[in-house]
C-alpha cells in the first residue's frame, strides 16, 4: 500500500515537472533567436528519472507528455515522442546496469542515445521530404542538453530524492519486495 502510494506520488511529481519543463521555454521573454540554444530539459528529466526510478515514469505517461511537447513546441508531431519512447524503453530495460556503472557511464549512454535520436530524426525528416534541421545548430543543441543532464540528475538526487534503489531491495514487476 505504502509502496503503491509512493509510486503514484512519484508519477504525479514527474508529470507536474514534465509539464513545467515543457512550458518553461514558452515564456515570451525574448522573441529574437537566442544566441545560446535552449536545451531539451524534458529529455534530461525523463531519462534521468527512468534510470533512477523506472516505475516513476511509466511508458504511457512519457509518451503522452512527449506528444504534448511535440504539439506545443511545433515539432513534427509524433517523431520526437516516438524516439524518446524507444530510447527510454531501452534504458528502462538496462537501468539497473547503468546505475551500477556510475555517473560517467550514464552520461555516455545518454550522449549516445541523444546523438542516435538526432540522427534518426534527421534521417526520418529527410526520407519523408520534410526539412531536416541544420546540423551546426543540432550539435550545439546536443552539447547544451548534455551539459544540463548532470544538473538535472543533481537536482533530482538531492532536491527530490529520486535515487536509484538498492538492487537487492528492488521489487519485482508485481511490486513485491523479495
Amino acid at each position: 500500500m505504502n509502496r503503491l502510494f509512493k509510486i503514484w506520488a512519484m508519477r504525479l511529481i514527474y508529470a507536474a515537472l514534465g509539464i513545467l519543463v515543457l512550458t518553461l521555454p514558452l515564456l515570451p521573454l525574448q522573441c529574437a533567436p537566442a544566441r545560446i540554444m535552449s536545451p531539451d530539459l524534458f529529455f534530461c528529466l525523463t531519462v534521468a528519472w527512468v534510470i533512477r526510478q523506472p516505475a516513476g515514469a511509466p511508458l504511457l505517461l512519457v509518451a503522452a507528455l512527449a506528444l504534448l511537447g511535440d504539439a506545443i513546441l511545433m515539432r513534427p508531431p509524433g517523431l520526437w515522442a516516438l524516439l524518446l519512447v524507444i530510447v527510454t524503453e531501452v534504458i528502462r530495460a538496462t537501468s539497473a546496469t547503468i546505475r551500477q556503472r556510475g555517473l560517467l557511464f550514464e552520461l555516455g549512454v545518454v550522449a549516445f542515445s541523444l546523438f542516435i535520436m538526432i540522427v534518426v530524426q534527421n534521417v526520418a525528416l529527410f526520407v519523408t521530404f520534410a526539412d531536416p534541421l541544420a546540423f551546426p545548430r543540432l550539435l550545439q543543441f546536443v552539447l547544451i542538453t548534455l551539459i544540463c543532464y548532470p544538473i538535472t540528475v543533481f537536482i533530482l538526487y538531492y532536491g527530490l530524492r529520486i535515487r536509484g534503489v538498492d538492487l537487492k531491495k528492488l521489487p519485482d514487476r508485481l511490486g513485491k519486495i523479495k
Binding site: T23, P28, M37
Partner: protein, 291 residues
C-alpha cells in the same frame, strides 16, 4: 511458484503489447502528418488553443519577475538615459516639424494630382502570449484568433516594422511565424534603389536578402519595405535596413523590436478587388462557366 511465474509472464506480454502499440501509434501519427499536414496542424492548433491560455496563470509571475529584473537593471543608467533621451527629443522635435510641413505639401500635391490612395488597413492589437519554445523555429502565439477575425496569412507589425505573418489560427489564439524563421519568405523592395528581392529567415537575428538582381548596387543602410507581390502582404510595410553580415551576405536589420515583443498589430487588409480575366475590349470574352 508456477502460478506466480505465470502471472508474471502474462504481465510481460501485456507490457510488450503496450510498448508496440504506443510506438505504432506515434509512428502512424508522424506518417499521417506527412500525408495530410493541414489536418494535423489544425488539430495541433486546437490543442494549443485548449492548453496554452490555461498556462498563462503559471507564466504571469515568471514573466513579471524577469521583467522587473530587467527594469531594475535599467534604473542603474537612468541618469545617462535621461540625458540621451532629452537630446534625442530635441532632434526629434526638429524632425517632427519637418514631417508636418512635408505632409502638408504632400497633401497639396496629391490634391493637385487627384491621386486615389489604396484603402486603409484596419488592425487588431494583440498580446504576445508565448514564445515558440523551440530553438529550431521562430514563432509566437497571440491571444487573438478566429473570433477576432484573424485569418491565415495576415501581416503582423509592431509599432515600427513587420514582425511576421499569421500561420495557424485557433478560436482564441493564433500563431505568428516570425521573419527570422527558416520557413519565412517575404517579397520586398529595396528603397530608394527599387530592386525586388526576397527576405529569407535563417534562425538568426538578421534574415538574408536573396534573389537580388544586382547585389552590388545595394549598399548597407538602404531601407527595405514589403513589395506586396503575390498578394501575401500589403505593400510598403517597413521591414528594416540593409546590412552586411559577418559572412559577407546581405542581411536585414529588422525594424521591429524582437527583443521585447509584447504587443503586435495584426493587419486586416481590406479586400481589394481582384482583376479577373481579360478586358472585354481586347479579344473575345472567354465563355462563361456555370456557377
Amino acid at each position: 511458484m508456477p502460478k506466480h511465474n505465470h502471472t508474471r509472464k502474462s504481465w510481460q506480454t501485456i507490457r510488450r503489447i503496450t510498448v508496440g502499440l504506443t510506438i505504432a501509434a506515434l509512428l502512424l501519427l508522424f506518417i499521417i502528418w506527412r500525408i495530410d499536414s493541414p489536418r494535423i496542424e489544425r488539430f495541433r492548433m486546437m490543442l494549443v488553443d485548449r492548453f496554452v491560455p490555461d498556462m498563462s496563470w503559471m507564466m504571469a509571475p515568471v514573466t513579471r519577475f524577469t521583467r522587473i529584473i530587467s527594469d531594475y537593471q535599467s534604473y542603474d543608467e537612468i541618469y545617462t538615459q535621461n540625458q540621451e533621451l532629452r537630446q534625442e527629443l530635441q532632434r526629434m522635435k526638429g524632425w517632427h516639424e519637418a514631417a508636418l510641413q512635408l505632409e502638408q505639401t504632400n497633401a497639396q500635391l496629391r490634391a493637385l494630382n487627384n491621386v486615389s490612395l489604396s484603402p486603409g488597413l484596419g488592425f487588431v492589437t494583440a498580446e504576445v502570449t508565448t514564445d515558440s519554445g523551440s530553438p529550431f523555429n521562430q514563432s509566437v502565439l497571440l491571444n487573438v484568433g478566429r473570433l477576432d477575425g484573424i485569418i491565415d496569412g495576415q501581416a503582423t507589425v509592431d509599432g515600427l516594422g513587420l514582425v511576421g505573418r499569421i500561420s495557424g489560427v485557433g478560436e482564441q489564439t493564433s500563431r505568428v511565424v516570425l521573419l527570422t524563421d527558416v520557413s519565412s519568405q517575404v517579397p520586398v523592395i529595396i528603397r530608394p534603389e527599387g530592386q525586388r528581392a526576397i527576405v529569407q529567415g535563417d534562425n538568426s537575428i538578421a534574415p538574408v536578402i536573396a534573389f537580388l538582381d544586382t547585389p552590388d548596387s545595394v549598399t548597407p543602410g538602404m531601407r527595405v519595405v514589403t513589395s506586396g507581390d503575390g498578394g501575401v502582404f500589403p505593400a510598403d510595410l517597413l521591414v528594416g535596413q540593409v546590412a552586411r553580415g559577418t559572412d559577407g551576405r546581405l542581411r536585414i536589420i529588422l525594424a521591429a523590436d524582437y527583443e521585447g515583443l509584447e504587443f503586435v498589430r495584426v493587419l486586416r487588409n481590406a479586400q481589394n478587388d481582384q482583376i479577373q480575366g481579360a478586358g472585354e475590349l481586347v479579344g473575345a470574352t472567354p465563355p462563361e462557366t456555370s456557377e
